[in-house]
């Protein structure tokens, strides 16, 4: 935290609002986080928590309108992304920051050979000639574990399986050696056995290239195995922020604690599973006070009246809760 030059990405008090028929939806509302060089930040949250919108904003990929970055700053490599020109953004996207998405089929062009799609990236960003680009494309495909890469490079996306398509996406994302890779639910659409392959691949590539990673997922197991730090998002806000081991051992927020308890543990007895009551929040009509209060087991009157403070419960560990210290003390026991 103290070494300034160690930080690659700094997001401060980011606010992203969408104008809809139901009024202004505050998809991301005052979110701050930092990604250090060579580290993996996990972002965990349910649908509508704002985890994807926050990351699209980093690349300035929010459709405006209806969306709008209403406030805050995004600093990448010391440069303010929100003030960047179109040309600077173009360099940023796909070159310095790359992104892979949940569904590899919809993010690949079905009418274009895989080789062509990979070549486009380096021809544009690295100024490769056709030959160089092709050689590089095949190298990248080999690198991500596509068998017979030089022959299969000329296939179309539909000729690949889901896991192979995700490998192609990763090859494309890493083509220009980005400094930051944003992986948005990269394995959610895949089977567990293929998920394990892809996660191992991301881990290996990360250790080889030193790329920083933001890994967005709803799966706490993936977070546990892959990340150094975690932020937990709910209703457009950061609810908890901590080093990964600390978060799992000593959650300081009732929402995090409830999430951890609602994952079935195969080693424990069957029976009633812990459940968080109620529904995910409707961002267009959030309750006053803490947005999680209606579903929270620790909630008291104050929670429905006043917005909770972002409390530091330990060094590098923050929690958005009126009772953060109490919850943290409870899980430390």
């Amino acid at each position: 935290m103290h070494e300034e030059n160690n930080s690659l990405l700094k997001v401060k008090d980011l606010r992203v609002y969408f104008e809809t028929e139901d009024g202004t939806v505050k998809a991301v509302d005052g979110v701050s986080f930092e990604v250090k060089r060579g580290e993996t930040l996990g972002i965990v949250g349910e649908s509508g928590s704002g985890k994807t919108v926050a990351n699209l904003s980093i690349m300035r990929l929010i459709p405006e309108p209806p969306g709008k970055i209403a406030g805050g700053s995004i600093e990448f490599n010391g440069r303010d992304v929100l003030k960047s020109s179109r040309k600077e953004l173009r360099e940023l996207r796909g070159c310095q920051i790359a992104m892979i998405f949940q569904d590899p089929m919809t993010s690949l062009n079905p009418f274009m050979r895989v080789s062509k799609q990979l070549m486009e990236v380096t021809e544009l960003h690295l100024g490769h000639t056709k030959q160089e680009a092709r050689r590089h494309a095949v190298e990248m495909l080999e690198h991500v574990g596509i068998p017979d890469a030089s022959e299969r490079a000329d296939s179309y996306p539909h000729e690949f399986s889901g896991g192979m398509r995700q490998r192609v996406m990763i090859a494309m994302a890493l083509s220009c050696k980005p400094e930051l890779l944003i992986a948005d639910e990269p394995t959610t659409a895949l089977d567990v056995t293929i998920q394990a392959q892809i996660l191992e691949l991301i881990k290996r590539l990360k250790s080889e290239t030193g790329t920083s990673v933001i890994l967005i997922t709803h799966d706490l197991g993936v977070i546990a195995g892959m990340t150094d730090d975690v932020i937990v998002m709910y209703a457009g806000k950061v609810f908890e922020q901590a080093p990964t081991t600390e978060l799992f051992e000593r959650p300081g927020n009732p929402y995090t604690r409830a999430l951890l308890r609602s994952v079935p543990d195969p080693t424990s007895e069957q029976g009633k599973l812990y459940q968080i009551p109620g529904q995910p929040p409707d961002l267009a009509s959030l309750p006053g006070g803490c947005p999680f209060a209606p579903r929270c087991e620790r909630a008291e009157d104050i929670c429905t009246r006043e917005f909770p403070p972002f409390v530091q419960v330990a060094s590098n560990h923050h929690s958005l809760c009126h009772f953060a210290n109490e919850v943290y003390a409870e899980s430390s026991r």
Binding site: E46, I223, Q270, Q275, Q279
Partner: protein, 352 residues
């Protein structure tokens, strides 16, 4: 499950083959989605069915209900063979056999209100009318945790979890005995998954239901099921009590599946050895001869290509289909490694 329970549904050598488009020059190809499944589902139990996508688990669930036509084999229910009944004979059984779908967005008619959705099956089977039907709908809504205020709302006004509750109420509206729950929680958020799992379990106990719980999520299946069947390329390869399948999986495939599930504990993740399977599931059009898993199995030997393994009892109540293990030697790790041990990468996560 009582030890001497009678099977509610008895599946005998069921196959479902889908013919592909005929070609002028080649003999017609078929996808063998389900290829010889024999399985008993006992009254009152939850039988979990797991496997990777394309293994045939959904097709098996639908073939039991005749939502897809079985190619051969039998599905015995109440003394009738469902696989060979005419559609009109099948109708008499339909109200006892229901299904809950994965996608709560696609499985509800967007132009019908909750009331219409839940009361339609009641009217179709002539179970109640007018005021009584209405009372029944309200009772069902209360049972699945939906407020009666929602009676006249449309599906788009609900969240995913609430829609799944509507789907469950619809399935329950005809008082079924058996429900196929096809990935009922996969499309839901983590906090909602546990709600729906608990709801399904409570309803099973209260209404004495029998479930076939289909999912690719081993943690969820292990939690809700009494027994678990593991499917690979159209065949059941292992069948055991839920506890045993997690504590002591016998098949190399099951071991790999369980090992692939990430554990929500950074300390365990950092130290445990993970087994990563190489490659993808082979095509069900032309599955490997003999044992279908042999192309990815580190213990495969030459004989695995010739002999089709049968699902046999290896330990009490624990069946597996592998020619390399037996009641005398149930531990595949103790038998000699196969011809291609390199297929299995043992990866210690900490070294990565």
């Amino acid at each position: 499950m009582e030890p001497d329970a009678q099977p509610l549904i008895s599946i005998q050598d069921l196959t479902v083959h889908f013919p592909l488009r005929k070609s002028l020059f080649r003999s017609p190809q078929v996808v063998k989605a389900v290829d010889g499944v024999t399985l008993d589902i006992f009254a009152g139990e939850t039988l979990g069915l797991v496997g990777e996508s394309g293994c045939g688990k959904t097709t098996l669930g639908r073939a039991i209900l005749r939502l897809v036509e079985p190619t051969s084999g039998q599905v015995l229910f109440r003394g009738d063979d469902l696989a060979h009944l005419s559609q009109s004979q099948m109708r008499a059984h339909r109200r006892h056999l229901q299904i809950i779908f994965q996608d709560p967005y696609a499985s509800l008619n967007p132009r019908m209100t909750v009331n219409q959705i839940i009361s339609e099956p009641i009217a179709t089977f002539g179970l109640a009318r007018g005021e009584e039907a209405r009372r029944r709908v309200l009772e069902l809504m209360q049972q699945v945790g939906l407020s009666p205020r929602f009676l006249r709302r449309y599906p788009h006004e609900f969240s995913g979890g609430q829609r799944q509750r509507i789907g469950i109420a619809r399935a329950l509206s005809v008082d079924p005995e058996f429900i196929v729950a096809d990935e009922p929680i996969s499309a839901l958020d983590v906090s909602i998954q546990s709600q729906i799992m608990n709801l399904l379990d409570r309803l099973r106990r209260e209404k004495n239901l029998t479930y076939l719980f289909i999912s690719h999520d081993l943690r969820a299946v292990q939690h809700v099921s009494d027994r678990v069947a593991v499917m690979y390329l159209g065949k059941i390869v292992e069948l055991a009590p839920a506890k045993a399948i997690y504590a002591r999986p016998l098949m190399p495939y099951t071991k790999a599946l369980i090992s692939a599930v990430p554990v929500p504990d950074p300390k365990i993740e950092a130290t445990r050895k993970r087994v990563v399977l190489e490659g993808d599931v082979p095509s069900p059009i032309n599955p490997p001869s003999g044992c279908r898993f042999r192309t990815r199995c580190p213990y495969a030997i030459a004989a695995c290509a010739d002999v089709e393994p049968q699902l046999v009892q290896i330990m009490p109540d624990h069946l597996a289909a592998c020619i390399r293990i037996s009641p005398e030697q149930p531990d595949i790790e103790r038998v000699a490694p196969g011809a291609a041990p390199g297929l299995w990468q043992h990866i210690a996560s900490s070294s990565a």
